[in-house]
Amino acid sequence: MASIVRLQNVTKDYGQGQALTHALRGVNLELEAGEFTAMAGPSGSGKSTLLNIIGGLDRPTAGKVEVDGRELENLSKTELGLLRRDRLGFIFQSYNLIPVLTAIENAEYVLMLQGVETVERRERVRQVLKEVGLEGLENRYPRQLSGGQQQRVAIARAIVSEPALVLADEPTANVDSETGKALLDLMRELNEEKGVTFFFSTHEEAVMRRARRLLELRDGVIFNDETNNNGDRTHG
């Protein structure tokens, strides 16, 4: 399979002098299309930093980052924006939906940015919202939805443009465990049935068990990378 992400000796430092913090220390990583990979590690281990760097939201201090065949170092701010818009999907821990847009409008936002025509846009979004279990709730505003429903909208927004990779930063952290499991089931389904590549961070055991590949990050270094081809699909 083709590599979607390739990281070579990526480091990221914050601050300087005595306040210098090494968030990432020489990370090497390769993710292939269709993977369903979780990244675990305690708080401050560098998970979010790594996701931000892969997503082109932050730049590494050193090292090479290649996403969807493009070296991010060579891309301008605008080009990074276009890469995110066209090739990446984001799911945030706190959903980050636009409060004044309805579920369907939130989900279609990226398609609008891509210039997809309204009729096609609506058709695609309705289909995706149906797939994520939000049929009938399309016209509700985020405040009218539960946490789990909001995260489903965020998932719909992330996948509707059929990106090469969906990056999710602790997507189940703000919902109860049952909802978290349901969300993870949904992501797995999308991965298996639609071939969406997921790379997400978590520090929950249950979530880690559901991943096909699990990376463990500690002090800015990947110290464990294991594959679980079956992936636990049972609840609990």
Partner: protein, 408 residues
């Protein structure tokens, strides 16, 4: 969708949006109303003064302005006059002979200005005839009859029908005097006009000052619409090209009024600038606050791939909507208030004594606004454009924020 997002965003904080919109509306209402009142007062003042004096445009001897004297007369050919009167923007032309003299009666003498006029023309154009308090205004058949100001009549103890003598130097420099009788007494409220001003039929003045037939001090042109002044002035200059005649705007002939208006407009401008500044500050504050409290949201939009230009457009549209609603409100209320005062006027007699004068010219105590499309839409457009310009700083801030810091 950006337009929808912008529209809904401004209504997130309804109270703040309403306060902002009302501030814009109130400020614009005040601006339109007071500018219209100012324009109305200026127009009224100019209209009264130019109609009483030598019109919006004056034709006179080129040397007359340096030292106005009766010997610096011009010959106003009937052909030139009728050509000028045939211009569509011209209401009337008026012949004037101006000279200084001493008015004498049995009770004393007073230095006075004598203005020779065509009574029938003045009746149509000048407001003086409306200020008669005793007797009547002149007519074309009146021979050696004059109208005088109430203060002059008081000083010389003159009443209607009484005799007075005017002594002066004629155009040749000879000391001359003429007997005349008082046809009527006017009172404008201006000390300068009521105390020293005499009007007489032009033939009487011509005889008194020893001017030839068609000899006048000035040929005044009264316009239907003051805005046409510049174009009519140019046309008259062409018509009078062969004559040794200066064609002047009223601003040159009555510079004290022009200076007063300029000065007053300047001080009004400061007041208006403060008003507009306050409106704009409110808008700026709202937009900035609204951007500052949504930095995380803007970071999300940028993370999803929104181009900085699209984000700028969203903020610009939010400002535009705020400005548009506020301006529509201000345009409606300010326009309505000014229109009411334009039609019915405000009577200031309760606040001002009769005899309100500006630069010695009496001004009516009934004040009218003057509303023009330029004023209405110019002021509104200015506030709207300024509102959008003000969003540049919040825009800049929103597009330069650190996505990672905001999402952390």
């Amino acid at each position: 969708m950006i337009a929808r997002l912008a529209w809904r965003s401004i209504w997130r904080n309804r109270r703040r949006t309403l306060i902002t919109v009302l501030s814009i509306g109130f400020g614009l209402t005040c601006a339109i109303f007071f500018i219209a009142i100012g324009e109305g007062v200026y127009t009224q003042l100019i209209d009264q003064v130019v109609r009483m004096q030598a019109g919006h445009i004056t034709l006179e001897n080129p040397k007359y302005r340096d030292a106005p004297a009766v010997d610096l007369w011009i010959k106003a050919p009937e052909s030139l006059r009728s050509q000028i009167e045939s211009l569509p923007q011209v209401e009337r032309t008026k012949l004037i002979i101006m000279g200084q003299g001493i008015a004498r009666s049995g009770s004393g003498n007073v230095s006075a200005t004598l203005m020779g006029i065509e009574p029938s023309v003045e009746l149509e154009t000048s407001p003086l005839a409306r200020h008669m308090v005793d007797g009547r205004y002149l007519n074309d058949d009146d021979g050696p009859w004059v109208v005088i100001g109430s203060e002059l009549a008081h000083r010389l103890k003159l009443g209607v029908g009484k005799k007075m003598v005017i002594t002066t130097n004629d155009a040749a420099g000879n000391l001359v005097d003429e007997l005349c009788r008082v046809r009527g007494i006017f009172e404008t409220g201006s000390v300068e006009i009521d105390g020293y001003f005499i009007q007489a039929p032009i033939e009487f003045a011509r005889r008194l000052f020893g001017l030839p037939d068609q000899g006048v001090s000035q040929l005044g042109v009264v316009l239907r619409v003051p805005e046409a002044q510049e174009s009519v002035l140019n046309e008259i200059q062409l018509l009078a090209a062969g004559e040794d005649i200066a064609v002047l705007p009223w601003q040159t002939v009555i510079p004290e009024i022009a200076s007063y208006i300029k000065l007053d407009k300047g001080s009004n401008l400061i007041f208006q600038a403060i008003l507009v500044f306050l409106i704009l500050f409110t808008i700026f504050n709202t937009i900035l606050m609204s951007v500052l409290e949504r930095e995380r949201e803007f970071a999300v939009l940028l993370a999803l791939g929104t181009k900085p230009d699209q984000l700028r457009l969203q903020i610009l549209m939010e400002s535009f909507y705020l400005g548009l609603i506020g301006c529509a409100l201000g345009l409606l209320l300010g326009g309505l208030a000014a229109w009411i005062v334009q039609v019915w006027g405000i009577d200031l007699r309760s606040f001002l004594e009769e005899g309100f004068t500006i630069s010695g010219f009496a001004v009516s105590t009934k004040m009218y606004a003057r509303l023009t499309p330029g004023l209405l839409f110019g002021t509104t457009g200015l506030v709207l454009v300024a509102t959008m310009i003000l969003s540049f700083i919040p825009m800049r801030r929103a597009t330069r924020l650190s996505i990672v810091d905001q999402l952390r």
